[in-house]
């Protein structure tokens, strides 16, 4: 933890986060004096999700996601914790950059949505065309900006030109220079009510969306298609698809096991707030489910490594995912009951 100085010469403590959007949101709240952890933000903003979209291709592979859509977490948290935020998109590059500079001069720290490929401070491996990465700009420096990227464990410098490219990149989910900062944040946010709202929302998203590709249904759908995939697509293509699922689960800044551990951390914090043993038990159950997801990743990695030649096969990987689906279904049903009983 290193203290950084913002424009208002207030110290800013950079905290290493697992996920960019929840990390940025919690940093914006902390800067305004509301102490809220990343996991808490993740839970309140209903970040946990599952979706597998076989018909939406991205680099030729179906999209699998373990979290809610980018740019839904932040507004939910802002609403539930009661903060007034400035949010704006820009069409004109120059105006967008000028607005950023003037917001910094008004001594705000500013959240930006960017394309991760053009952020040159990242190692090569992190960089791919993805338009939903969130960062915080602390202040302007010579030829660039001082940036607190929650995914990295230290603040970095970024040249102005690269930042401009990243903010105005084109493609799916264009950031369009999206910029946001806190105007006022309520001094004493109602965490209890916000937690209950977040939990209920997550339960709805996981259990009640009548669509076969999202929530628990999506998990079952994907598990079954993994079992069938080597016969249907051939081993090579099946390996590619399986590897992509594991990448989405572990690689894309999830804090491990596709955000399941982060959600368990949220449930643990919530259990303390409500002094509820039931929530504490649910947190333990979530951890156990996360461990199965990790096992799924290990088994899948072995399948990919041996091209399906070992005793670990696709049926085993799919079976593990079915176990996860079953246990998560039970967990969210229980959570729904518990959340309804809790008093705000």
């Amino acid at each position: 933890m290193k203290a950084e100085i913002t424009v208002s010469s207030k110290p800013f403590i950079h905290q290493h986060a697992a996920h960019c959007e929840s990390g940025v949101t919690s940093a914006l709240f902390r800067d305004k004096g509301v102490d809220v952890s990343e996991a808490m933000v993740f839970g309140i903003g209903s970040g946990i999700f599952f979706g597998h979209f076989p018909f939406v291709k991205w680099v030729g592979l179906p999209i699998t996601t373990f979290r809610s859509r980018p740019r839904t977490l932040f507004p939910k948290v802002a609403k539930r914790l009661g903060g007034k935020f400035f949010t704006k998109k820009y069409r004109n590059r120059k105006k967008g950059m000028a607005a950023l500079r003037s917001a910094l001069q008004e001594s705000h720290i500013v959240g930006l949505t960017t394309n991760i490929y053009w952020l040159s401070y990242f190692p090569e491996r992190f960089r791919f065309q993805f338009n939903g990465h969130n960062i915080i700009v602390l202040r302007e420096i010579e030829d660039g900006f001082r940036i607190s990227d929650p995914v990295l464990d230290h603040p970095v410098d970024c040249p102005a030109e690269d930042l401009e490219r990243a903010r105005f990149a084109k493609g799916p989910l264009e950031p369009k220079g999206f910029m946001y900062y806190a105007k006022t944040v309520s001094d004493n946010p109602d965490f209890r009510r916000a937690c209950i709202e977040g939990m209920k929302d997550s339960c709805n998203m996981m259990l009640r969306i009548p669509f076969p590709f999202v929530g628990i249904r999506g998990m079952r759908y994907l598990a079954k298609s993994i079992v069938k995939s080597p016969d249907k697509l051939g081993v090579k293509e099946a390996c590619r698809r399986l590897a992509n699922v594991v990448r989405m689960q572990e690689e894309v800044g999830t804090g491990g096991a596709g955000f399941r551990f982060m959600y368990a951390a949220f449930l643990q914090e919530a259990a303390e707030i409500f002094a509820s043993d039931e929530l504490a038990r649910l947190s333990q159950e979530m951890t156990a489910i996360g461990d199965i997801w990790r096992e799924f990743a290990v088994v899948s990695a072995r399948i990919v490594k041996n091209r399906g030649q070992s005793e670990d096969n696709f049926a085993k990987a799919g079976g593990l995912m079915l176990i996860c689906a079953g246990r998560e279904e039970q967990l969210f049903k229980n959570l729904d009951k518990v959340a309804r009983k809790l008093k705000a």
Partner: protein, 140 residues
């Protein structure tokens, strides 16, 4: 996941560390940094190698004169015709047409400049393809 189970296998993130959530000895969740995980590296290298192979194939094709350098530079930036077209402000069908070397060779400087701007390259770089396989560490 317990704190001591957080993988510290390899310095796979080029010195950077990743945050993981894990339980400490008292059963409380804490954020732990991880330097990399072998199993993750396996699945990831599959995707990375695939991209690299595709890029190398395009580079050969461009050198042999089957494809224009534009196609190579687009793949080098991990773009597709639709992203490139939007960034440069050129219709997708024209972008695809410009992958043919004989048509690319006739392009005027104004069109080339738009591509160069979109791909963050100089005009000279845009018109040529590296002679040797490019390793990691592309600069902006």
């Amino acid at each position: 996941m317990k704190v001591k189970e957080v993988p510290q296998d390899i310095t796979y993130y080029e010195g950077e560390k990743r945050a993981c959530y894990a339980l400490n000895d008292e059963g409380k969740y804490v954020v732990v940094t991880s330097t990399g995980w072998n199993d993750e590296a396996v699945v990831n290298s599959l995707a990375v190698e695939e991209l690299a192979a595709q890029l190398e194939e395009t580079r050969q094709a461009a050198l042999a004169g089957f494809k224009s350098p534009l196609c190579y530079h687009m793949e080098n930036r991990q773009m597709n015709p639709s992203i490139l077209g939007k960034t440069a402000g050129i219709a997708v069908f024209r972008v695809k047409r410009h992958f043919r070397p004989e048509i690319f060779a006739k392009l005027g400087d104004s069109v080339l400049a738009r591509y160069a701007q979109a791909l963050a390259l100089s005009l000279e770089e845009l018109k040529t393809v590296p002679k040797n396989t490019v390793e990691k560490g592309r600069k902006l």
